[in-house]
Amino acid sequence: MVMKRNILLFFAIIIGMLSLLSSCTGSWLDTTKEGTPAESNFWSSDDDFETAATSLYYCLSLEETWGRNLFWEQGASDDIFFSRTRGSAQMNLANLSMDGSTESSIKSIYNEMYTTMAVANNIIYHALLIDENSRSTIVNRTLGEAYFMRAFSHFMIAYRYGRLDNGVPFERYEDFTDYATQLNQIPPQQNSVTDNYAYIIEDLQSAANLLSWFSAYSSDDYGRPSKDAAYGYMVKVYAYWAQHDASKWALIPDIVDKVETDGARGLLDNFANVFKIENEWSQEYIWSVNSSASNYAGSIFPGIVLDNKGWGAYNGWGNFKPTLELWAEYNDEDDRRSATIMEYGDEFTYFGATKKFYSTADNECGFHFKKYMEPYSYGNLNSSGVGENNSYISTNGDRPTTDLNVPLMRFSELLLFKAEALIMQGQNALAATPLNRIASRANENMVYTSPTMMDLMHERRCELACEFTDRLMDLKRWAAGGSNDWNLDALAKIQTAKHGIKHVDRSNSESAIDTTNGVAMSINGKSYVGVFQLANMSAKSYVPGGTYSVLPYEINQVIKSNGALTQNSGYASN
């Protein structure tokens, strides 16, 4: 009996403990996660804001953005062809036959840009919670960076997807009335792309107000957007906006002048020097993807355009090559041609040795881009022909970055926009000054007195070939203007079949041109022999302002939007 009593007592203790446990479960169950900051304990110091700003730039160095994928679009322009065969993920872009479900290569750009907008939005939201007068220098700079990156990523989406009759989704967290809820809601689609442009300009102005000129930056801050970049992109946005509202041209010249004067920007004397590592932060710099070989950071674009396998020395990916059409655009005297393109037999320094260009790539055209070749000139080739001792290029062939930054905007582009703005306002003579600065540096023996749009288009093409300045968009906006000669010229350039030069022995840099299999042809008023049409680069149809003038929203995103995202006209939405 005593035993039983003791046991009952024992049970009583247990039961007591159980009830105790259940009564205190409330606080006992509260557990925390450590090691990662939470909304509640972040945003409290300058360091926090600086760390947050770092996330803004994640998108810049991805293969999916300015590493490679954005350039697939240029397959539809007249400058570029794909020297390795591609599937419909890229060919639909090149043939302007997008359908919204196949173009996987463009999908991640959409995602990354909206992620960047969200990151920027969050920084802006939290920075604005701090009273304006108590914001530190760092918080202000971070706020400026966030405004810039929100505008920059917004712009990338706006002009690619936005139509006059259908804008792109955009929201500002600072307009939220219920942060926690609205954070999880779809940003409203703007009525017109011009509404988007208005937001972008507003953000760029806010960025310009908060950021310093680049010339005031110490090297530790190189790579952050500056006042120069904010104004620079303002110019570009106005230029694109002008396609729908010509009054925007008038705003451009003053901004360019301001950047030049107050920002101490200008042109280098020699075009080829612009694409040298030592000059990547020169007066011509406005904004670029900061790259480094040592930890393969930055853009892999130099490796992407290097001949496939880099003649056995390095893992070039050989994705993009220039067309004969681009080669033919240059005057023979133009310095920019040899700085931009190599043809068979052209000498270049490659891993310390002199090499003459040839290529046995899958789809060969007889040419190769040269703008980003400087980093490959260093080091030496070992006995197996493999490059070594070159600290200017990434040692990882899967991530072939170099020490050369990949420019996104150079001052010369701003001069070109200034010239274009003046021409478009009928001030052709005034446009001669900026355009001649470009032309004279190129030594192309061309002096403009009253340049036309055709002249402007020539200079812009020659100056910016193989850069992320979007040749295709230039052609689209020029073709959309009406039926002037230059409108039709731009349209014809979108529609054209693209060509290359055939050589008898592709593996011999001295090989003669193959006139048996190639034909004689006149391109840009110049005669060529041994011409052949590049594989899968035949003529295509294009209607200015039509369905294919913008990208289709990925069908999956339209479906997931459940009615909140209107597909662009002409494209399927399911």
Binding site: E34, T54, S88, G223, A297, D362
Partner: protein, 1073 residues
Amino acid sequence: MEKSKLIFVDKLRLLKVVVLFILIFSSLAINICAADKENTSMANLTTSVNGQQQGKHLINGVVKDSKGEGLIGASILVIGTSNGTATDIEGKFSLSVSPSDIIEVSSIGYISQKIKVGDNKTFNLILNEDNRLLNEVVVVGYGKMKKGDLSAAVSTVGNMDKLQDRPVSNVAQILQGQIPGVSVVSNGGHLDSEPTVTIRGMGSPNGESALYVVDGVPDAPFNLSDVVSITVLKDAASAAIYGAYAGSAGVILVTTKQAVSGRTSVEYSGVFGVSQAMNLPQSLTWEEEYDVRKAAYEDAGESIPVGWDRISADPVYGKTNTDWIDEIFRSATFQRHNVAVSGGNDEFTNRLSLEYNNTEGTLINTYSKKIIGRLNSMWKLSKYVRIREDASWRDTQVRDVNTSSAESGAILSALMMPRNVFVYNDDGSYSGTVPTSADYITEYGETYSDIHGDVINPVRILKAAYNNNHLSTLTSSTFLDIMEPIKGLNFTSRFTYKQSNYFQRYYNTRRLEAGKPNDNNSLSYTSYREPQWDWENTLSYNRVFGVHNLGLMASSTANEYEYRDFSVTGNDFSNETESMMYFAQAGYFDNATDTYNKDRNFSMVGRASYSFADRYFLTSSIRRDYAGRLPEGKKYGDFPSVTAAWKITSEPWMPKSNVLNLLKVRASWGKIGNLGSISYGYGNPTLSSRIIGGGDVGGQVGSSTLVANGIYLSTGYNDKLTWETSEQIDFGLDALLFNSRLNLTLDYFNKNTNGLIKEQDTDWPTTIGISAMLVNDGTVNNRGIEVSAIWSDKINENFSYYVGGNLATLRNRVTNIGAADAEGNKPVWTSGGTFKELNPFRTENGTPLYSFYLIKSAGVFKTDAEAQAYVNSSGAMIQPDAQAGDLKFIDKDGDGSIDSGDKDFMGNAMPKVSFAFSSGFTWKNLSFDLMLQGVTGVKLFNAYKYTTLNESLGAFNRSRDILKALNGPNNDVPRITMSDPNGNFTTASDYYLENGNYLRVKNVSLSYSFTDLLQKIHYFNDRKGSCNLTLSCDNLFTITDYSGIDPEVGGTGLDAGQYPISRTFSLALKLKF
């Protein structure tokens, strides 16, 4: 004094009330009843035998059943001879025997008896009915139950002895084909992943996970050789006792061997086997690859690049030198050894079991090694109090390899490597895609590396990169049992402490050869430590009052879990010798992570069961789980269940019959939760951090080293998130027929999984800019019928056999996919997996989960004219780029072009019917077993074709199947083209879709018992020694139409190339003394 006594009495009274209240309110039934009855009992009728041999004499007798009725046809046999007879209509027999003979009296459905004849002349024998099948005890959640009394759908794998002799290394492998409704799909032959166990259909779109409870302890390690039985709680009613821990799939209870008192016994069991991968693909020879490449260039109007001709002219490299598939595959060995020592007395028992398992992968250099030690002890302190301790330690080391990566998968790389190069260069380094010797370059000037795409030497992938993970888990469970202080009342307090330590070491050496060079080396360490404890207190009360059988159980569990991990990568090692690959030699470090999580949970369970006169059974349970990880205000959930059964054969009005031994119908309803669907600490939303710089991305800021840590909000947070739940109804029927020869079970179930946890799909495009938050949305319904039947019979002393089979049907549907938009359009889910640009999955309201949604194709165009004749109403070609050899796509919506509107639902990877068949016999000491297993109604998406048959993918070697397309249009392989303008491969069409049905001879085994031989030795005879040898083959062969390596693809049925499962021949030895 008086007062205090009074208070004590009052307290006692109060206590009694509390106890009573707890007992009534709470729960539990379950009789821990019915001990296993011995199959045979030795009835020694004589105590002394004349040493002197006597002559034969006639004996007479009668055999009756327990009711006194004579048994007709019972067999009487002199053991070891063919001398025997059978009883007549009255149960009488007569037989001539010697006094030293032993006779065996047996009859089906009764327990046979062995009797020493001695001097007896007359035998009056009573054979007891064999109620083994009825009295079999089954382990259920928080207790045990007589199989005959079960009212829930609970299935047991009983013949563990035989299954353990197979070359298996985990319980999931054993379960395959054993229980209808339990689907086991291998994720290929990967050594680091166990097969996926799905119980009664996939409910959670996030995949299924079952809870393993080992001897009452969740997730405790155990030795495979120690497993006595496996019980699967198939319906929600039986699993509901585990509430939110039951997981999405359900609960699997594992019972292991425990220490028993008696003389010390030693047991050894071992399996040794040899495995070989089956049905392997093969790549083109150098010459064939040349032809295919040439055809591709010709198709593009180009000539083949000069490098091909230059290299082909070389006497050494211009031919096929290497069979890469052969280089990477091997005959692998399988070993499992277990030694157990057990013994003790009434007050102390102890058992030690040690197991070693070494499974080599069929891909070179891959392995999985396991060492498990387990100590099981019991101390009896008094009549009422007992302490048990179960401690185990498990150590696992695995080296596996990625096979599904489109860039560096090991098998894919073997198919993509050109076959003219050698595995190694002359200097012993790994060869790339082209010859790199200085001699070659002197001779030919160039190596023409651009004629091949980026591919890595597959032998290098398997050998040079070292990726080994090491996991040790220590578990200790201590039980305090208080046994029947009051009749029928038991109390158990269990405290379990478990700690896992994980360490992964991964180093990558420099890869300089042409192909996919990477001049970096790195060493990564990933480590975590997971200490956790749980404390469970269970009170149970079981009493029989006349015809009333009452069971009550109440239990509570509290647990705490901690997780701390860190990982970091060292880069830039100047010296690559293995002994120098240590952090101290690293040039710089990156990718550091360091996290800490704590989680706490508390649960209360109650169960009550009642049965009346062995006829009516009723059980009900309720569990409440509190989970610390959930958002405030959403921290708990209730999980009830109720089951009922009616044993018709126990009704007094049912005539006793040898035809129908048992007939029972049952019904159950229950609800379970899936705690695992929510990550630890969900209730505390955090920001994400990512390293910007190095690896895949580079930092933007600075002029030199561009590495920085970025912090941002990456994912939406749902403050209303709670766990998934599933509710299930089950109707079942159990029957034993024909003197218990036929055992039949039939079940119908209908399961709804509600509040599915998934990333918000609808209303969350990537436009939002942060990853979708988790939501509870949608319902998946699974229903089906399960049948299992086994017929076993013993013809005579020497021969017995069994034939059995099971079959399960499954119908899976998403019955509620979420809220419709303003226009009434229901959302669709597009998840399920992608491969390159192929996204073949789509789920709509009313379709099965992860349905294939594809464009239908109709073979290839045989001629260009045929392609041109395929026009729409306006006369334009429906496929403008098509020519002979391109796939013909069906314009389903008739809009004149091929687009997403032509897609249609084309089934999914979940088997509609799964079945298994097993059979075997025992003849004297020899026994034979056969198990077949298969599925039907399965569709698989063979994405492997995208890389192995698609010439437009680039300059890689391909599968030999591509040769079919070399000589004109072929329905199996579209034309060889470098650009694929028709999108033969980039279109998600049913070209990839294949029938995944299969019938597999899962196991054949032949076993011989040397027990008789062994027992001739006195020592072993004395110790009841036994010895058994089994020859076995797993996965002998498979009948399937599937063209990939193996139809057991796993996951959602997207086959991107996998580690093949292998055929294993093995020899198993069991020795006990």
